[in-house]
Symmetry: D2
Subunit: 283 residues, 4 copies
């Protein structure tokens, strides 16, 4: 059984040795390991280890307890997860279905290791798409005027299902602070431009006006500042003068779903570490 | 011998017929033709035709005179050029040599169909690089305080050599209005970011701070508003958390020179038409 | 109403003039035009024109009759189509659903201008996927041993529905000569490698064995020689040593559906001209 | 001072712990670490560690001696290098200068951490290009008939200068077994196609004939079988029907030099491990 250990802390000599020594003593075999230090002098240390350990499921709590001592010595932020414990996901969507459809398709063929608990929308439109997958669909009418009340309903639904990851699959409403605080670095948004170009609404119209030769999409964790959160993944596609706004949108849909799918994949596999307003992605 | 005919005008029926009829009557054979209309209803019409015509050199003036009548009928912006008449180019550079070196190398192996008349710099550093190519190098010390006086010197040099195209190959000074007016849509700049992200100075530092996963470069015609001119070409390269600012610059140098080389190539082959703040590029 | 005129013939002076003159006389306005000549001396001439003509639907037969005369003069291969007359498509599929799902989704949201007449499979598996779209699903059990008999059934189904375009959306059976002859340059296949690398079966296994750093997909028209037909579109994605065969397949699925979608889009919009074993794609 | 430790061996539990424990005891601080196991059950283990250790230069021999014990326990292939000890490089070139020029330029601006000992060519043409860099240029006339004799001269030159890395920068002669044996996984070739497509001579002509929509380049270690060695890096560029063979070559030159530059960079930084006919590249 495969487990994952993630560590962030101030760098100093001996961290890798201490961590790998610990895993070795537990009988775990390290199968993948990535490590990054921002600066050899006084920088930050990041590590992700994938290890194999028989009977991990029954041992994981004890493992965590014991690792806490190592972690304490180095003042680590850390977590140990099991690859078998799937993250519990809620997908938020508005009226554009491409990202939702793409995620559901990946989930159905087993490409997306998640437990999709629900789809929440401010519109009823997507219910028929979701129905065949037997995933609960909640229509919570939301506008900029009742954002906070909706958030209360949202949080109630999310908590009841023990959701830990929220995917905004082209959800066109602003997420209030109350929800962001509760799901820090656990809400993934797909923005339909290559950020920081074209922040805010109607980025394809902005791109058309500026006459760019490349359009893009950005998946990022949601923070209070609109479109300013830590970027997880970006990608682009070439366009030219023949692309009207509707063509940019068409091309963009493909980029958006690819970028979102990769960001979600990495998040679900605990490959993303956040520091400040940036991410370390151990792909 | 190959000629090129470029046309921009308001769209209306019969333009292609009139133009191709004209060329046919002159005995010219159309070998490539690209045409674009922004909107079938009241849009703009753009066309680039490459034609073969024996003895073009001696006939080109007469051809222009005669085409003026067709052009007049449709109120066209137009030009007829000969592929054998190379554009006369000045390269402006500061202290970074990668774009300059790349252009000179392409020119030397015959990839760049231009007559490079001079290299102008606000520093003496690049003289030894330019010397072996036997291209005049002018050191015109320029700062933000003597910009206008420098422009006077620049224009004098450019006019004497009949320069028609200016390439800013990482020239780190702002071009004053006097020069922009004289060289409208003939000054190509390479900006070291994916515009409109990271306008202005130190874009790689800005990119590092924002934590983008992709960096880029943009070649554009210079207008009075900094980094706001019509975009000719853009491209990008992936980066990740391991890239320090110096790594972004290293990766960026390769993107910059590729993007600039393509934009210059298209400009030299009369493949770029400007309308408003956008370009039509018939690649 | 938008019409399209496609022309291939031996190049000689006056073709563009004759064609555009003809369209102008009919009152048609050329809105897009692409033209390519392989060689100014004795080469081949290709042209695609998009024109606007009121009442095209009722005039198209007369238009064709009249254009035949122009065509005759230049010994053209040609066709005139209406953008409103959607192509009639059959999709063939085996057990992998990603290309099928992607096409159906694009069709549903109006991105794919086709009339999907049927889905044909050598397996019953995809029927539930197709059912909600209310497209007929025909299960025609096919193996290498009954290929010809199946082809007879296939052709019967296709002819009854007047199908003109066949898309092999990961259909893992060889198409017999009888069908290829009848649907020349109208059968699009997606091959899961960057052709001509990894011809034949299990290309991802071949790619894994060779240790390539990039995998790809190729959409091509089907000819008698396996994986040797005219290439319409190709694209690639980076991989590295961490990608097991199953990861190559996962990454590959995304490339495959994008490449197939683009090739289908261009075919449906009459943007692909075939000569010899190559294509001219007027994107 | 930065050192690098590279390890390949059969996987078993405890390797990371043993290695990191060793480095920790020596007072070394791990600043980057990459690890890959091909298969948790009986697979191969690969690791690259970058560590900081004061006074590495004077300690490196002792470090190697002591690490030999750890290595012995796990039957490792391993090496410890210092980032300050630059590799000693010979560049082989024929008549195409683009890869050579690109490498020299990168070397000159400090991008390429190598000690370029010599340029060897079967032609005299490149001497004037190399001269300004004050790098010895050896013209060793070589044809397929005197290959072995040339190799004797080559090896003599290489050994006298203690060369450890050979870069074939578009060297159009086959390398004989004698040299390959002596420089196993130390000869980098750039092949001007996306291998395994278009093995052998004139790949751009082959690409043109096949009508591919993408061309590429491949950097690989040279083995006895032509164009079959372990691939280090590949990249591609889009082309279309308008690209004649000379255009493919032009576009290809840019891909070739980028791909070669990256492969060389990774080799020089000890980021490439070879197993069988594949590479693990810890980018």
């Amino acid at each position: 059984m495969v487990g994952r250990l993630l560590v962030s802390c101030n760098d100093r000599p001996g961290i890798v040795a201490a961590v790998s020594q610990f895993l070795s003593e537990q009988g775990a075999n390290i199968v993948h390991s990535d490590q990054h230090t921002t600066d050899p002098e006084g920088g930050l240390f990041f590590m992700r280890i994938e290890f194999q350990l028989d009977g991990l499921e029954s041992k994981i709590e004890a493992l965590r307890e014991q690792f806490a001592e190592v972690a304490n010595e180095f003042t680590m932020d850390w977590r140990i997860t099991s690859a078998d414990e799937k993250k519990k996901v809620a997908i938020f969507v508005s009226k554009e279905d491409h990202c939702l459809q793409d995620l559901l398709w990946r989930w159905q063929i087993g490409e997306m290791a998640a437990d999709i608990k629900m789809v929440i929308s401010n519109h009823p439109d997507m219910e028929t798409i979701v129905a065949p997958f037997e995933i609960p669909y909640y229509h919570v009418p939301t506008t900029k005027d009742n954002r906070e009340e909706s958030a209360v309903k949202h949080l109630e639904l999310l908590e009841k299902a023990d959701v830990d990851t929220i995917i905004l699959a082209r959800y066109m409403q602003i997420i209030p602070k109350s929800m962001i605080d509760q799901y820090k670095n656990q809400i993934i948004n797909i923005h339909h431009s290559f950020l920081p170009a074209f922040v805010g609404g109607k980025p394809y119209n902005q791109a058309y006006e500026r006459g760019v030769k490349i359009i893009g999409a950005t998946a990022h964790y949601v923070t209070e500042e609109l479109d300013q959160g830590p970027i997880i993944e970006q990608d682009v596609e070439r366009v030219d003068h023949r692309h009207e706004i509707q063509d940019l949108k068409r091309v963009g849909r493909d980029v958006e779903r690819m970028v979102l799918a990769r960001a979600v994949q990495w998040h679900l596999h605990d490959k993303v570490l956040v520091h400040g307003n940036k991410t370390v992605v151990f792909r």
